[in-house]
Symmetry: C2
Subunit: 411 residues, 2 copies
């Protein structure tokens, strides 16, 4: 099995100015292609440090993917460093292999640099930008250098991997992984359920991860024969699905809003959302899904009592008697948005996101979430314990999950 | 100057299942404390690979911070690996140093493990969770091991850094950095402006970064004497602010919604938002700010024409004549939300986020954004070229920036 290391190059990463999302993308793509990622490293735009990182990586991995440092400025050192370290002088590639018109002022200064590659390297064309990438082979290690701009890098990595697969057909499926995303059960319960499952834990590796209330179960197995690995994974999936039931809302790249969208499509149902403490997050999540416009009719962010009363027709007496954060108001919001939009399902959310606004009776993180349909209304009282942002996220995910279960169970 | 390496431990990272955000946080905090981060490394939950990563890090850095692998399961290998590598046998710490009630089922299995530390280590208490951290010193290298859960790690890192500062008072401010966030000028123009600024580029390092239409200018300098570095940075700031003017909307942790919030507060003004293609993202961003509820009155996500007409009172004729994606409809949406909410400023956004819905006349990424006040209306036509998600983000940021400039210039 090919072993790999990912090296992301950029002072902005080691200074903590940006989150390195490239590593995750590359790691995911390599894993999908049966490549065993051992390490990811980030390093400053510094020739000496990059040389050291490449030297170490070459000792421990057969494939090295670097991103960053291919631009036209002085801080871009990848071409020169790789050329020097592996003793392959830089040459100008004859064609541009890029697809973007360049600004006049960068054309003269940096164009030469953008087109230069170590002699003997394979060119990886850049369809979305100006910096070409390249791959070299040095003493049985392949080093692939890609730019750091995600939109350019994705396409170039995929081009390289297409080539890789033709060269390594046997490895293509040697590792198979699948993620099952669940909502509604705490992580320790899921782990208890998994422990009791009749799955060979020596062959099938299972790992759980929690984020924003979602518990993801990662299942991985490997085999020299692709079919064997897939068969083992399928068998584990059957057992896990039986044990976890409707708690599983999706696999791999799916999220809760995607699960809701698929159910809306399947049932030809429409949805509308009235939000207070989540401030538009549920609408934002739903409208991230291409094609949602047929099913998502409208969203109201009714932050003020006036908006709750005048737009959503929440009875003023409900607010006076029970307070804006109450089961009654959540219910009235869900029913109100359902009525004014004409949607099949209405969601209402009211709560205290924090950090201010809490009291002894109604502490920060108290959120009421209602889902209304033609023949049902469900109201859930939640007590979250996070920051303003995570209380918003937990509330939004809980609301989406409630809508999902209602849609699944046809009520 | 102390050199450092960050090691994040977790198979989920090198498989690409999660983005490693811990590295960014730690890198930022170390940099703020004058520590020079050279590398960040991520490694599988594998004792042999972690041993190799720690051995390499020890050769090239004086301070190593690890996160992850301190939990109760078999996959958690940090305690054992550090203990073995540095020949410091594990012992049970006498007190728990944690603050969270434990589940009965994890108490028995993992509690011993969670409390064990290499003999001679300094304990780093965990105020928000069950796994204690520790720091050891081995041949002049300090190794600090923290859990991977961000909410627990943050506090523990800060505890350690408080101690670090008392031990390294002179280094406290040896590196100073400041970020200036701009909107409205393309990166190459900003770089041209910076080039012409009378700043000593040998002493003051300047770097630009782009994300979602925002161009961030990172300025860094270092000196043995804190006051010298700060004075140099202040002088550079004065020059940059003069050169970039109102394009700068904030420094360091500030974002566009925060800049709008500060101006709303300063001017005692209120805002309301009518969104179509951004789907609630502007409302969501604004409501991430604590204290916004006094200034943000309401948001409407009017995805359907019906919602635009009935809730926002957009004239049906505007939609029929010019189409839902038009300057006229954006203007009517901004005026409509302003009127129904009673806010001082109304924002209206209509466009085609993609990937479907484009035509030759109205391509994907075409967005009209309007900002309305008592005595002004501004409508901007934008043509973005990204994915659905990035078109939403660019549109939301452009709208927030338009509102910011209107508020700044009192019109």
């Amino acid at each position: 099995m090919t072993t790999a290391e990912i090296i992301t190059i950029g002072t902005e990463i080691v200074l903590g100015h940006i989150v390195d999302t490239n590593s995750r993308y590359i790691a995911g793509m390599l894993t999908k292609n049966g490549i065993h990622v051992l390490f990811t490293t980030s390093v400053r735009d510094d020739a000496e440090l990059l040389t050291s990182a490449l030297t170490i990586a070459k000792e421990r991995a057969q494939l090295i993917i670097t991103t960053g440092g291919l631009g036209p400025t002085e801080n871009d050192i990848t071409r020169e460093t790789v050329s020097r370290l592996f003793n392959m002088p830089l040459i100008l590639s004859s064609d541009s292999y890029t697809n973007r018109p360049q600004c006049a002022d960068t054309l003269y200064e940096g164009a030469m640099k953008l087109k230069s590659i170590p002699s003997g390297a394979l060119i990886i064309p850049n369809e979305h930008g100006t910096a070409i990438g390249f791959a070299i082979i040095h003493n049985h290690t392949t080093i692939v250098c890609l730019p750091g701009v995600p939109g350019e890098m994705y396409q170039m990595l995929n081009s390289y991997l297409t080539l890789y697969k033709t060269q390594h057909p046997a490895e293509e499926y040697s590792i198979v992984t699948r993620q099952f995303h669940t909502f509604g059960l705490p992580e320790y319960k899921i782990n208890t359920v998994i422990k009791e499952c009749d799955i060979n834990k020596k062959l099938i590796k299972i790992m759980t991860l929690v984020h924003d209330g979602i518990v993801t179960v990662n299942v991985a197995t490997s085999s020299l024969i692709k079919e064997d690995a897939l068969r083992a994974l399928d068998a584990a999936e059957t057992i896990l699905r039986k044990a976890l039931g409707q708690a599983i809302f999706g696999t791999d790249d799916a999220n809760l809003e995607h699960a809701v969208f698929e159910l809306l499509k399947e049932k030809s149902a429409t949805i509308a959302v009235a939000e207070s403490c989540t401030g538009g997050l549920v609408s934002d999540k739903l409208t991230n899904i291409p094609g949602i416009s047929e099913y998502f009719l409208e969203g109201i962010v009714a932050y003020s009592n006036e908006a709750k009363i005048h737009i959503l027709h929440v009875p003023e007496a409900d607010i006076t008697t029970h307070g804006a954060v109450s089961a009654q108001v959540a219910e009235a919001m869900a029913k109100g948005i359902r009525k004014i939009s004409g949607a099949n399902i209405g969601i209402g959310i009211t709560g205290i996101a924090g950090p201010g606004g809490g009291s002894e009776q109604k502490p920060i993180g108290l959120v009421y979430i209602a889902v209304a349909g033609s023949n049902f209304i469900e109201v859930k009282k939640c007590q979250f314990r996070g920051t303003r942002m995570s209380n918003k996220l937990f509330s939004a995910n809980t609301a989406l999950n409630m809508a999902r279960l209602k849609l699944m169970n046809n009520c």
